[in-house]
Symmetry: D2
């Protein structure tokens, strides 16, 4: 059996949590969605050859390399998928774009505004040459989130007054949890702010179609020192005897105003005991409200404020109907999706955009804007929570 | 049938929403709780004699007066219960305390810090003469809230990291809703801030046993002008033709730090479409979390972080067991209470404190502290959200 | 202050759980609702004079008697309120009706169909003489339940296909819980069936406006013997050393068909560990569905099947709006009611019906019909679950 | 890159809803779980060659055939995966087992008890020759369901008193929905009973580890005639002009007793407006309870009845921890799975059982037992709901 579609040959850099998620997406996208190009999982790139070999076999990549520079130069590769920690995003993405590869880069776009600016500039220039780039704010592709945006766009919420977003996790409440790379500024850029708040900032802008104009924020590191992990390769590492300083925030909280006149609260933390992956957003407008929680990702709660007072109330919409974004490609109504499907939807849209010569969304410019918000939060936190405008 | 208990003769000032709630409390407290004194509902005071007569008959007060000054001077009255808008709290309370009456004053304690300071000072001096005073943050007396505090006090939450509190209503989303007294600074002092945020500030301090040390905040008035109500006597008034300026906030949002090292987000709004009375608070600690919503006031959600990972999760506790605060006096387990019972519990505790010569809680000093937090939010909002310490 | 309304003088028989609930209702009804007659709480009747004295003082009744027969003969009493266990309902009600007293009788109407038939006949005859009677299925007066009925009556659910009702409690899961009167057939008539299933049978017929035509059922007694309580006067009694047989069902389950063509499942149990007072009913129709749980009694969940598929879903209606049944007399939207308010609503409607010369609902005939359903369940359970038609 | 594992060559019969789900499972299982054999997706079999070609290409099967008989005879095929409607299960499975192929057969096992008996017998004989078979009750492999069983097995629920199970859908509420094969007895065997009730019967026996001993039931067909679909190939067919009789049940309801002494209610319907895929089960025992809903499949609600009364309550466990069944192979805690993962887990266990020479579960004997329960329900429904014992 042969697939006569043109192929899209992919190389992936990184094979940890995000690498596994993206691999499943590349493998699955064409099985449920009609894609104009057929993705081919060609090369997996990792620093440790043995581990990379094992990962490639498990995840289904044909070849392995330990040198991302040579990978981005290969003529037979069309797409570079970047799944490394944030500190290497800029270097890899810039080289890949320069080499004319389409780039799918995990979030946050970069660890600094200057890196993100360079990436956004390079992406804009590459786009003029038909080279596409996308940053991986995957929660946009939860059907419920995409449908929330559509409701706002259709005017069902009216004028937006409030955004209320949190991203709550609890995996480092234990002070003996080790000092993994996500707790080190040099690798992660920031803590809950870049890892978690970036998601809800993007989600807020995506759903409302509005942009954050300014912020006031604070950050906190509850546990200042942690055991140094012998091999800091993951969340599961066990504690050692010596300790090192935690150099990122455990929690970040901020207030915001949007250009459209809404006000918002944002909170990201890894210390909300009992909350595992509670990325939640509620938007209140003059005509209605939506509320969403990643922990229950097949549900969107919608209140129609124009409804009769007797029968008004937040309704639990199972976003699994054929009429809902993405849902029709999968299972019958009520048969829900999971976390990984958000990545499959990213790949679907990215591949279609490449084929159609359209700029994907969220773009590197979107990623830069999120980075500017996070940067403003850090500046505010360092200056008595004073208001910081977000540069246009 | 005669009740041989000593009576506690009560005069109430005001007979609107709060007056009705307090009347039901005075009428009911002794029917379900064993009180050391028997409350007697003697005088209702209101400005409009006819309306006051009707209210007194409906609510069960024996006499009526239109002059609160003479009321507080009466020798046969033991308690003055203040249910008026905030702008008259200070004058009435100060006179009543001076006359040796125990005072139960609705929240917020006052419309300004200086008034609240005077009241707190007077209350402290009166206490030395055996005269008691209490401010009406009634949500403390929701059994679920009282039980949450107990769990914290018992150490079940460990070190507190986060407070996350909102008070969401939606009764003025419609721009044609009229300019009632609650939207006028001269009567209400502030808007959502004093009316709603005061509740969650008190609740946060009550449940955690900790105090807010500083804040950064913003406020917003979404609808700047509203129809002038012909008789601005309530929420149900209909719009007129001329318009006047809304001089209070529609929404107030702030970040906080506590002396104990926790961080918090607070939001109060009358523009959260679909949320009717969602006073919600979640507290996350190193050993557990609690979560509570006044819209479901018989429930407390508790997460025990020391539980095995397999069986951990937020549990829905119906706070209706005999072992729970207040609940044993009422109905069998699972037979819930309503909003009004919080006032009955206030009266129960207030009467017992009077009889036992104990200072009630929340005291006027507690009310002052809340006022200082609100004041700091307004100062921060007026100064680019800059951090404001709360005076001790 | 004098109330110039004509009074309605009430005598109550029984002062335990139901007596307390009814007393609170008589005391409160006129304070929030405009009643055409003023209820006066005159006499409390109980077998033990000392306990009755204490109850009367606590609950606010003026006099006490230990002889219900003399009470029902008193010329100055207008209403007899029966709050005793089911085995004495018939005798007291028949005597009261014969003496021309309006009768408010707790549910279940009686412990046997024959008693219920006699009561229903007497009530019908008394009604011709202007004497009113009502049976106390209080959950009809939860605003959410009354509103559910209204939605059905307005056609918002279309043709009814399904009723799904459970009443789950767990207070006797412990095999050492003592043999209280509710576990003895001679006093209680039956167990979960009469105590709990009676409520959901009435609720199902009330909400749907339809009637059960036939049933198939089973019953079960999980714990066959229990400690004999020294004073079997309540749920809180402690276990003794000798044991006696439990002579009622711990659980009753049945299937039903209605005259209107719907099918239903019903389950009542005192062994659903973790469920405290979960009287739940869901009704599915061709145009919509409603779902309700007494444990969250301010909420009605409504699904509008005519809604666009994209935005369809069960909505959580807070049944606290002025437009909702009963709710407008109480507090602002979102400020919920509790269990006891259902009794207040019963008194309100009963008093209005008396004044207006209208037959109250649920009538004794309604109570009889419920009794016939329960009886048919027991007959079915005794005959291999064979289908039993309900006599008209 | 070569995988040195021995392969397991699979042929699948059917490529509709279940075919797509199984294909995704075969494709994915080895990517997240360490399998002892490497599944190879070799042949897809379908009646329509063109459609089968398209399906094979989309789903990733190497070859296509229209003749299942030749497929099951092929020497190079190890596993036959049966995804056809129930009326062909027996014939295909018997031939495959006779040919020495391992068989994975979708549920329900067969459309009749006699077919199921033959299949169960053949499976038992084949097992003696090392040939394995499994029936596809996929909800057993929801981590929450598997964990519920584990809690019961560990004694955390004590003695089981109650099972309460429903499977609610609403896709044929519209009387104009066409007469698809699922509504025709000759193809589907039964309606909601075989399609939906089979799932909750299996789930009840799986979670409790107990078996249903007898039942009493009723069935109902609300819409007796429906438009004849031009091409009755799926749920999405549109209505035509002529009508034909619906020959299966729209809803089936039954009561049950287990050998272990529990009682249960079961209900399956396609007429529960607003419920999309609500397969729900609650089990109450003397020491605790569990509650589960497929619409929220990452959650298990657990009540520990041995917990202090103050802190007892149903807790929402996100069954996504490494300690939970299956969950550790996927994503970090809180990052949920979807419907399709249940099939992947089936494949994982099936492949491991084949490699380890162990009989898979649920076996064809389990499938037969479910079929006997369904058959007893139909017999009861045809005989006034009279009690029917389930043959051992």
């Amino acid at each position: 059996m042969t697939d006569r579609k043109k192929t899209l040959r992919v190389g992936i850099v990184g094979y940890s949590f995000m690498g596994a998620a993206h691999s499943q997406a590349w493998r699955t996208a064409g099985r449920f969605f009609d894609l104009p190009l057929r993705p081919e999982m060609v090369v997996l790139c990792g620093r440790d050859a043995t581990a990379a070999e094992a990962a490639a076999e498990r995840m289904g990549w044909q070849e392995v390399t330990t040198d991302w520079r040579s990978l981005v130069e290969r003529d037979d590769i069309d797409v570079i998928d970047i799944c490394t920690p944030g500190d290497s995003h800029a270097e890899i993405a810039l080289a890949a774009l320069a080499a004319g590869k389409h780039v799918f880069c995990e979030k946050p776009l970069a660890n600094s505004v200057s890196d993100a600016e360079a990436m956004s500039r390079a992406a804009r220039e590459a786009a003029e040459r038909g080279v596409r780039s996308m940053v991986g704010f995957n929660y946009r592709r939860v059907p419920a989130a995409a449908f929330a945006r559509r409701l706002v766009a259709e005017g069902r919420l009216g004028r937006i007054h409030h955004v209320r977003a949190v991203y709550l996790q609890d995996w480092i409440v234990d002070p003996e949890f080790p000092l993994v790379w996500r707790l080190q500024r040099e690798h992660a850029g920031s803590g809950a702010l870049g890892d978690l708040a970036s998601h809800i900032v993007d989600l807020a802008e995506y759903i409302t179609g509005d942009r954050i104009a300014g912020v006031s924020g604070i950050t906190e590191t509850f546990v200042k020192e942690r055991p140094i992990a012998s091999a800091s390769s993951g969340l599961a590492a066990t504690g050692g005897e010596s300790r090192g300083p935690v150099t990122v925030d455990d929690a970040a909280l901020f207030l915001a105003r949007t250009h459209g006149g809404a006000v918002g609260t944002f909170e990201a933390t890894r210390f909300a005991s009992g909350r595992k992956n509670a990325a939640r957003i509620e938007v209140n407008g003059s005509a209605g409200s939506v509320s969403f929680d990643v922990e229950s990702l097949n549900e969107l709660w919608f209140h129609d404020h124009t409804e009769d007072a007797r029968t008004g109330g937040f309704r639990r919409i199972l976003v699994t109907e054929p009429e809902h974004p993405y849902a029709g490609a999968w299972w019958p109504a009520g048969h829900g999706l999971g976390y990984e499907h958000t990545f499959t939807h990213e790949v679907v849209d990215f591949v279609r955009d490449i084929a159609d010569g359209r700029d994907p969304s969220p773009s590197f410019a979107d990623g830069l804007r999120v980075q500017r918000v996070l940067d403003a939060v850090e500046r505010s936190a360092a200056d008595q929570a004073r208001w910081q405008e977000i540069p246009a």
